[in-house]
């Protein structure tokens, strides 16, 4: 009997011990569920921990709004059941958020839900990271004085000098005449005097005339060459070009530079179309449905312009208003008489965007940074080696070319890259 009792006792001990261990471990695991981690894993796709609306309401101070009791557990574990039961508050929220069903979370226990709501009750307003990009517009204007104005000033000074000298000369001559008792000579009008002087100094005049003519015609010639060319290289690798203001102050520096979004994310046409394409404002909405404000100055107003264009209502979180197209100003313009394909250059030629568009990643306002003239195109075609690797379509042709131009590098020009009909037809 004693043995039996001992046996039972030892068994009980084992049970008790294991129970204690189990409780210890289970309490370690469930004593304090991490509300923030649970929120991130389960809720953050649709809810903000602040009071900002997302797909669902912001959860800051939510415990003050919802009915008390077990309502919160029922709602999280199966919200559609609560809505179906005709609960007033639940139906109200369901209608307010465009009948979006909150998926059931049966895996979340009551402690988890409490932990999440404790975390969100206080609110967690995210501190946006300060971007390095300066929010101000880039000062593209140069402070250098226009040399033309300098020349004009010098010319005006010269004319004044001539007039003063002439005035003194006439006065001196008159004084001399007076002294000699000769009658005072009437002063010639300026033009007449100039003609008089020119009549007596023909060779000098001709030389000066030819010099001025050549210089100015040369200058004029270069000025004419600049018509229709909107970019010039003021210093090596430093370009000044056409940079019109845009209806929305979209900064490529923030998007492509600081956030390193690839060019093709928005300009999707570049690999399968002639034009790279201005992205639709709906592409902006892929991110800006959520990001309605950043640390940059004026960002809220600019993002609100996207909402106006797409008809998005931030309060109702739906496209309810009429759409308004955004009329962007085109910067890099190729005239109508030249045919250019982005697809050909990017897919086959493997040309990087910045080779023709410049340092877009650092542009606040997009600027044309290459001249886009025919000479510029042709120069590149003459010097760029032909990309033959991985282009199976023209293998036979490429083999032929390799035989024909044995010792020299094969350029784009050798494959017909500078023939007139290649671009003009």
């Amino acid at each position: 009997m004693i043995r039996l009792w001992q046996n039972v006792q030892s068994k009980r001990n084992v049970v008790l011990f294991s129970l204690t261990i189990f409780l210890l471990f289970s309490f370690n695991a469930y004593a304090a569920p991490d509300g923030k981690a649970l929120f991130k894993a389960n809720c953050a796709a649709c809810h903000n921990a602040s009071d900002k609306k997302s797909t669902g309401p912001g959860l800051m101070g939510v415990l003050d709004r919802i009915p008390t009791g077990d309502w919160k557990y029922n709602w999280v574990q199966n919200s559609s059941k609560v809505v179906a039961s005709g609960d007033g508050y639940a139906v109200g929220r369901f209608n307010e958020y465009n009948h979006t069903v909150m998926p059931p979370f049966p895996a979340l226990k009551k402690e988890d839900i409490d932990a999440i709501l404790d975390y969100t009750q206080k609110g967690d307003v995210p501190k946006p990271v300060v971007t390095t990009g300066a929010p101000t517009q880039a000062a593209n204007a140069t402070d250098e004085t226009n040399p033309v104005f300098l020349v004009i000033i010098i010319l005006v000074l010269l004319i004044i000098l001539i007039a003063v000298l002439r005035f003194t000369k006439i006065n001196l001559r008159n004084a001399a005449n007076e002294k000699d008792g000769l009658p005072e000579q009437p002063a010639m009008p300026f033009l007449q005097a100039a003609r008089h002087w020119m009549h007596h100094h023909k060779r000098k005049c001709a030389l000066i005339g030819i010099f001025i003519f050549c210089t100015l015609v040369g200058k004029g010639w270069y000025a004419l060459k600049g018509i229709g060319v909107y970019a010039e290289e003021v210093h090596p690798n430093e370009w000044v070009g056409y940079h019109p203001s845009q209806p929305i102050n979209f900064s490529h520096k923030i998007h492509a530079g600081d956030n390193a979004i690839q060019c093709n994310y928005c300009h999707t046409g570049v690999e399968n179309s002639k034009t790279a394409g201005i992205p639709s404002v709906m592409v902006c909405m892929n991110c800006h449905k959520v990001i309605d404000q950043t640390v940059n100055a004026g960002s809220k107003e600019e993002i609100a312009k996207i909402y106006t264009a797409t008809g998005w209502s931030p309060d109702m979180r739906a496209f309810t208003r009429a759409q308004q197209p955004v009329v962007w100003n085109k910067v890099n313009v190729l005239p109508d008489f030249v045919w250019f394909s982005h697809q050909q250059h990017v897919v086959v030629g493997k040309v990087n965007c910045d080779q023709c568009h410049g340092d877009v990643k650092n542009m606040v306002t997009v600027e044309q940074q290459r001249p886009l003239t025919m000479g510029w195109c042709v120069e590149c075609h003459r010097t760029t080696p032909l990309k033959m690797e991985g282009n199976g379509y023209y293998t036979a042709l490429h083999e032929k070319m390799k035989e024909k131009y044995k010792d020299q590098p094969i350029t784009v020009a050798m494959a017909g890259g500078i023939e007139c009909g290649r671009c003009h037809y």
């Binding site: 991130k40 894993a41 953050a44 796709a45 649709c46 903000n48 602040s50 997302s54 797909t55 979006t100 995210p126 946006p128 990271v129 204007a141 226009n146 033309v148 020119m198 009549h199 005049c205 001709a206 005339g209 001025i212 003519f213 100015l216 015609v217 200058k219 004029g220 270069y222 000025a223 004419l224 600049g226 018509i227 229709g228 909107y230 056409y242 940079h243 019109p244 956030n259 690839q262 994310y265 999707t268 399968n272 179309s273 002639k274 034009t275 394409g277 639709s280 709906m282 592409v283 892929n286 991110c287 449905k289 959520v290 990001i291 197209p325 009329v327 100003n329 313009v333 005239p335 109508d336």
Partner: protein, 231 residues
């Protein structure tokens, strides 16, 4: 001689005035590109991509217009499911990947994933992309591994989400062609499986199928979890 001199002076003056005018005009207004030889050739009356075509009529002035209702490109297979929860579940059941999975398709999918998805979904597909991590983007995308284990990560479902968007995610239908979407889906599946490439995964599945005793309980749970991949 006199005449020539005068002519030279006159020419010089005109050239000078001209050059002064041209160089000064271009810099005055940044919104104006400057002087053009033949404006018609720069801003042509013909239809240009992304241009304003005012000739359509007075109310429609944009060049970017939608195709007529019901028009589809040649060879394009329309997505028959609607942008609803029902459409989502129907697509996840019946919309199948036409591509035969292999490593090169996954590599292409990875390339596209890194261009279009990685900013929010993260390089591992755990919803911890750099926008989410830095707090710029407050909505956290789902974790592919979790969704895969729960059986929700089906090809048709991902296709539905890419095409129509879901919750805070916008539609990427304009950015990814149907074939590109399938390629991305292959890579997303790979991330959901835990990052192993298709060839490794296939070998593993075969090995598990050949060992019926110990792992047989786990295999169907993994293989049948919403997998609709053609073998």
């Amino acid at each position: 001689m006199k005449k020539i001199t005068y002519t030279l002076f006159a020419f010089g003056a005109i050239a000078f005035a001209g050059s002064a005018l041209l160089t000064s005009c271009a810099k005055e207004n940044p919104d104006s590109p400057g002087i053009e030889y033949m404006p018609d050739m720069y801003r042509s009356p013909s239809v240009e991509t992304n241009g304003i075509n005012a000739w359509v009529n007075d109310s429609i002035q944009m060049g970017n217009m939608l195709p007529p209702d019901g028009a589809i490109p040649r060879g394009f297979i329309p997505f028959p499911y609607e942008n609803t929860l029902e459409g989502d579940s129907l697509a996840s059941l019946f919309w199948k990947n036409p591509l035969q999975n292999n490593d090169s398709i996954e590599a292409e999918g990875q390339f596209l994933f890194e261009r279009f998805c990685i900013y929010c979904h993260g390089p591992k597909g755990d919803g911890n992309g750099k926008f989410v991590e830095s707090g710029k983007y407050s909505a956290v995308p789902p974790n592919y591994v979790v969704r895969y284990k729960a059986g929700f990560l089906t090809d048709g479902h991902i296709y539905h989400v890419i095409t129509y968007g879901k919750l805070n995610m916008g539609s990427h239908a304009t950015q990814l062609s149907p074939i590109e979407r399938w390629k991305v889906i292959e890579y997303v599946q790979r991330l959901g499986r835990g990052g192993d490439a298709w060839s490794v995964y296939q070998k593993k599945m075969q090995e598990q199928a050949n060992m019926p005793d110990t792992t047989s309980k786990k295999v169907p749970a993994k293989a049948d979890a919403g997998k609709v991949k053609p073998k």
